[in-house]
Amino acid sequence: MNKDKKGDKLAAQVATYLIGVAAALAAAGVMLGLLGKNVAEGYSLLLTASFGSATNLSLFTIKFVPLLLMSLAFAIPLTLKKYNVGNEGQFLLGAVGAVTVAFMLSSLPALAAIPLLLIASAAFGAFWALFPALMLYKFRVNEIVSTILMNFISFYLVLYVATGPWRDPFAGHPETQAIPSAFDLPVLLTNPAINLGLVIAVLAPLASYYYIFRSVQGFELRASGANERAALVFGVNSNLLAPMSLVIGGAIAGLAGGMEVAGLQLRLVDGMQSNYAALSIIIALIAYGNPLGVIVSAIFITVIELGGSAMNAVMGVPVELVYVIEALLLLFILMANVFERRRR
């Protein structure tokens, strides 16, 4: 009977999401129609752009992997209601860490190079989250403010590195030369192109789920998020856990940045963070920070992103429409949740 109850609840939750998604897609269709475009073509592009061919599937993973990791970097501190909007800067620091290791230890063999690069990028990302974490711990500085400010610093740090000794003088854009090939993420499949990054990206939410919902520390994170004061009264050291969760988030974001370098760009590029940070926040919030939910919402947002680009390229739909759909999606799902709660 308990199982049924749980099943019912899950079903209600899924139904809520589906309603939200359907409403957002319907709104998108209306807007396409108003723009005088072929609505059916738009919908079909939305799907084929991600799954239509092996190449498209490769494009999908390229976008999906960093988005998923960035979302986890936001989701883990969200467990105790901390907002790691600094995952953008932490991502960039991870990328800086990756090229730093690659250029400074350029003669390493692949077997040592890749683990080292991944560790370095996670460490750089964690390091970037350490300052906001310390300020939170020592002076209770709001992490939203401090991590955003760290983002600004990171943009200039990337520029500094990308225009420094490792720069690529022929690029015409601030970026470094390619890293030595020993540091490239191993390719597992060529068509669709899949590298080690996808494996890590799929394992990460499973590990995060286990950490949050099955470990003692995760229990304490959730307890702090549920009622910080009650957790404190019963011995949970929220003052320490909150900063720590930011550092964990920083490490994951850093890992995403490092893998972006070693798996895709093969160099540090100014602006390589794209719009991952904003999307990751939407993804994590839609999933209410649940790492398994993050997988689903990350797939969904990636599909919309790619579908939107395709609509832009093929049908001449303005890219702004994609942002509108994403925003509507978040709003509709949040609204559907409110209604679902009120119904009870």
């Binding site: 308990n2 109850k5 003692v216 959730r222 549920a226 009264v233 019963f234 011995g235």
Partner: protein, 514 residues
């Protein structure tokens, strides 16, 4: 003035999932009368009134106001019909002053009529003896005063019907008397008052009419003149249950066998209140193993600070707190808990419950590190579930599953979770602050028996309570706190309510006694 029927509820039914919380209940409110709504935890008293107040929508039934059928969908509708409710858990903005809280929601357009409102509130407060510091921030006020703010807030809106949900559950006897007096006066002025409670004694002293609920059904409808305490208890409990411990009267004088080793020893402990002044001053206390030391006092006289200093939630400014010879002031809360100290905090919503987590997780909170519930990294969810199930059964927590969220439970059931959490294992020491607050007869009795069982198992128990009957029923000694100082300690066998009452008001115990 002829008694006018203000509200009539007919055939009200409400389901929560599979549970029929209200089974076609009829209920009426008459102007100038106090209608007591009596019943145990989960009997549906609050649910019924939440329907009238627009917080829940009934599945069936109709509500008439002055003979006309009305649909009340939100509390705003209820307030428009001049129906007001004071909830058991206060809904105040803690950063606002009392007066700002009262003003909240009264503004028209962009303007508050602050001056007129203030005069009105002051005159209401005078008339009903509900004195409160209007310019103090709510968070600085003791629970009793916060409740007066809540009541003033609804009275300022000129209600016809006033619903009070368990209004005395957090009050001292003196405060309760003042409140009951105010309620009588309100009824005399023509208001219809609904008094939700599980305390039979109060019903007898204040109500005109009584409706007893049991399991969502009306178990009896009586005039106060035709009922007796015993009859009401029978109706409430549906004819079951043992004679409660409270009825047995004060603990007899102790035998010498009860003298155990000292467990908790406090030596000139002072605790700051966070506002400069110290809340606890130079307190010396010793609690032995196998002893319940009761702490009496009006709420806000340092009890909370004392409990939190022992739990290391708050740092003692000076002095020493030793448990079995180990200095606690240098430890953190987690270490104190793992020494075997159980804690039942006063504020169950603020300091106790994790609403978005499961009942099992709530019961285990504080002991998640202990080897019985985890290895070094992962939780042992099976053991957690089994322990929680034991707690749910022992304390009769009304839920379909230990995996249900704690946030949906009623106040009494939340309290039971905190009790189950504290009694998860035999404690070495137990700090229990108002452990029976908001519980019904059977649950109160069960908690008090559990305290005694812990004591018999060798635990030292510090029982902080505002309920003197309860303290006298189970304590081996009672110490009285006033403004953070110990006014005196009374031994079992020589309890005198008036003597303790005088100490609670700040009179030091005469040295000649005992």
């Amino acid at each position: 003035m002829p008694a006018e029927e203000l509200v009539r509820m007919t055939g009200i039914a409400k389901r929560f999932g599979d549970v029929l919380a209200l089974d076609h209940v009829d209920f009426g409110i008459t102007g100038g009368k106090v209608h007591a709504l009596l019943g145990e935890n989960g009997a549906g008293k609050t649910t019924l009134m939440n329907v009238l107040y627009g917080l829940y929508r009934a599945d069936e039934g109709r509500v008439e106001i002055k003979g006309k059928e009305m649909a009340i969908r939100t509390p705003r509708d209820a307030l428009r019909h001049r129906i007001a409710m004071v909830h058991q858990h206060f809904r105040l903005v803690s950063n606002f002053t009392s007066f700002e809280n009262i003003l909240l929601g009264t503004g028209r357009g962009l303007k508050f009529e602050a001056r007129a409102q203030r005069e009105k509130v002051e005159s209401i407060a005078r008339e009903y003896g509900l004195s409160v510091d209007l310019d103090a921030k709510v968070k600085a006020l003791p629970v009793g005063a916060q409740q007066r703010v809540e009541i003033l807030k609804v009275l300022a809106r000129d209600p016809l019907v006033l619903i009070l949900d368990e209004p005395t559950s957090s009050l001292t006897p003196q405060e309760a008397d003042v409140l009951l007096g105010a309620i009588k006066k309100l009824a005399m002025n023509g208001l219809g008052v609904v008094f939700i409670t599980h305390k039979v004694r109060e019903v007898m002293s204040i109500a005109d009419e009584i409706t007893v609920l049991n399991g969502g059904r009306v178990a009896g409808r009586l005039q106060v003149s035709e009922s007796g305490e015993k009859r009401l208890v029978e109706l409430m409990m549906g004819g079951r249950g043992a004679p409660p411990l409270l009825q047995a009267g004060p603990t007899p004088a102790r035998t010498s066998a009860a003298q155990g080793e000292p467990a908790l020893v406090l030596t000139s402990v002072s605790v700051g209140s966070g506002k400069g002044a110290s809340a606890v001053e130079e307190v010396d206390l010793a609690v032995r193993h196998g002893e319940i030391l009761g702490v009496a006092g009006v709420s806000g006289n340092g009890q909370r600070e004392l409990a939190e200093a022992i739990m290391c939630v708050r740092r003692a400014g000076s002095g020493s707190i030793k448990l079995d010879g180990i200095e606690l002031t240098r430890l953190n809360t987690k270490q104190v808990i793992s020494m075997g100290v159980g804690y039942i905090p006063e504020d169950r919503m603020g300091d106790g419950i994790l609403p978005s987590m499961t009942i099992a997780e709530n019961i285990v909170l504080g002991r998640e590190h202990s080897p019985s519930f985890s290895d070094r990294f992962a939780l042992n969810r099976k053991a957690m579930g089994a322990a929680a199930l034991r707690g749910v059964e022992d304390y009769n927590i009304k839920t379909t599953s230990v995996e249900a969220h704690a946030g949906v439970l009623s106040g009494g059931n939340v309290q039971k979770i905190l009790i189950a959490r504290a009694f998860l294992t035999q404690c070495k020491f137990l700090v229990a602050h108002n452990p029976t607050r908001g519980l019904d007869i059977a649950a109160t009795d069960h908690v008090l028996r559990s305290l005694v069982k812990q004591k018999e198992g060798g635990a030292g128990v510090l029982l902080i309570s505002e309920d003197l009957d309860e303290l006298m029923a189970v304590s081996d000694r009672i110490c009285v706190l006033f403004k953070g100082q110990v006014m005196g300690v009374v031994e079992a066998g020589s309890y005198d309510k008036y003597e303790i009452g005088a100490m609670m008001a700040g009179k030091k115990k005469e040295a000649s006694a005992s």
